[in-house]
């Protein structure tokens, strides 16, 4: 591809890790360096430019597209996907951000075209009340059951005293368990 790399010996990274430390200025590498400098004089040791023209907008775009779903990839976010479609939508979001649109306006724009399906954070509406409320309902029900179960359980257990045989059995069990407390 580029002239420099064509004669560079291919070592595996392990070898390079070992030898690379000591031979920073080995002949081969010196030639390499020299060639690099000669071949691309303008770019030598320059700080690489970010791909994004405007890092601030890029950051907002990424934050926004983390929570949006790429439709063609089925289950990747717009931020994570390398698909062409995701690229287009990222470009669209970038352009709208540049035009001073708010995050909400952009989300509305996308929802009006692709539906709620693009949102990884489902909107709160009657059809999703169960989704958003579900976990807390589960927790409340569970805690309620647990509390009443424990209370009732204590009462039930207190009533029938252990039979002789049960008592012996329990003793054996307790003995067995000494020392094992994990």
């Amino acid at each position: 591809m580029n002239p420099v790399s064509s004669f560079k010996p291919l070592k595996n990274s392990y070898q390079q890790k070992i030898f690379g430390l000591r031979n920073i200025f080995s002949t081969k590498q010196f030639i390499l360096l020299l060639t690099l400098v000669l071949l691309s004089p303008l770019s030598w040791a320059e700080e690489a430019l970010p791909v994004a023209e405007d890092p601030a907008i890029e950051k907002r775009m990424l934050a926004l597209s983390e929570d949006l779903r790429c439709l063609v990839c089925q289950n990747e976010s717009l931020a994570g996907s390398r698909a062409d479609f995701a690229n287009d939508l990222r470009r669209e979001i970038r352009e709208q951000l540049k035009a001073n649109k708010s995050d909400q306006e952009i989300i509305d724009f996308l929802v009006s075209r692709y539906g709620d399906f693009v949102l990884y954070r489902p909107p709160v509406k009657p059809a999703t009340y169960l989704l958003w409320g579900g976990p807390f309902v589960f927790l409340l029900i569970g805690a309620g059951i647990l509390f009443f179960y424990l209370k009732r359980r204590r009462k039930q257990i207190e009533e029938p005293p252990l039979t002789e045989e049960q008592h012996r059995h329990a003793e054996t069990l307790l003995k067995e368990n000494k020392g094992n407390n994990a």
Binding site: V72, D88, V111
Partner: protein, 174 residues
């Protein structure tokens, strides 16, 4: 004891949903644009780059907008049907050549036939975004008032044509 039956009850509900789910198509995302005015666009003609075509020219008639590209494999599947439909003259088909190269697109049309009354280009997929295109091919049925009435996701098939698209066109034209 009723409470010991609760797990079973929950499981039965779950199975109900899973059974219905087997017949659903999770890959198809319905368009929220159905029943809404088709987004207005203006773009170059595929055949004559200097000609600018606008979607509002189509007001007053029922038309199909078919999104296609020469790189799209399943477009080849539906293409003979579109060519046939165009020959029948039932409805004008407008082609939106999506993210394609002009020469490849023209070559493709000359090879497989050109069913399009008019073809416009969308080299960067911007019109596609407006229409909520997320795969090619897609086909939209647009009525006389410029409202989107139906969206076919994926290739048009004989079945979808006969069961849905043609009856709808007849109804809209009538």
């Amino acid at each position: 004891m009723m409470r010991f039956l609760l797990p079973l009850a929950a499981f039965i509900v779950l199975v109900g949903f899973l059974a219905v789910g087997l017949n659903l198509k999770p890959r198809e995302v319905p368009s929220p644009l159905i029943g809404k005015p088709a987004p207005v666009f203006q773009s170059q003609s595929l055949h004559e780059p200097e000609r600018i075509l606008a979607s509002k020219d189509n007001l007053g008639k029922v038309w199909l907008l078919n999104v296609w590209a020469s790189w799209c494999v399943s477009c080849r599947e539906e293409h003979p049907l579109l060519v046939e439909l165009a020959k029948s003259g039932i409805v004008p088909i407008y082609g939106l050549n999506y993210k394609d190269k002009r020469d490849l697109a023209l070559q493709w049309l000359s090879q497989y036939g050109d069913p399009y009354t008019i073809s416009v280009v969308d080299p960067e997929g911007r019109i596609g975004i407006d229409y909520g295109v997320y795969g090619v091919p897609e086909t939209y049925v647009i009525d006389k008032n410029g409202v989107i009435r139906h969206k076919q996701i994926g290739p048009v098939t004989i079945e979808s044509l006969e069961k849905k698209i043609l009856p709808l066109i007849k109804e809209l034209q009538g």
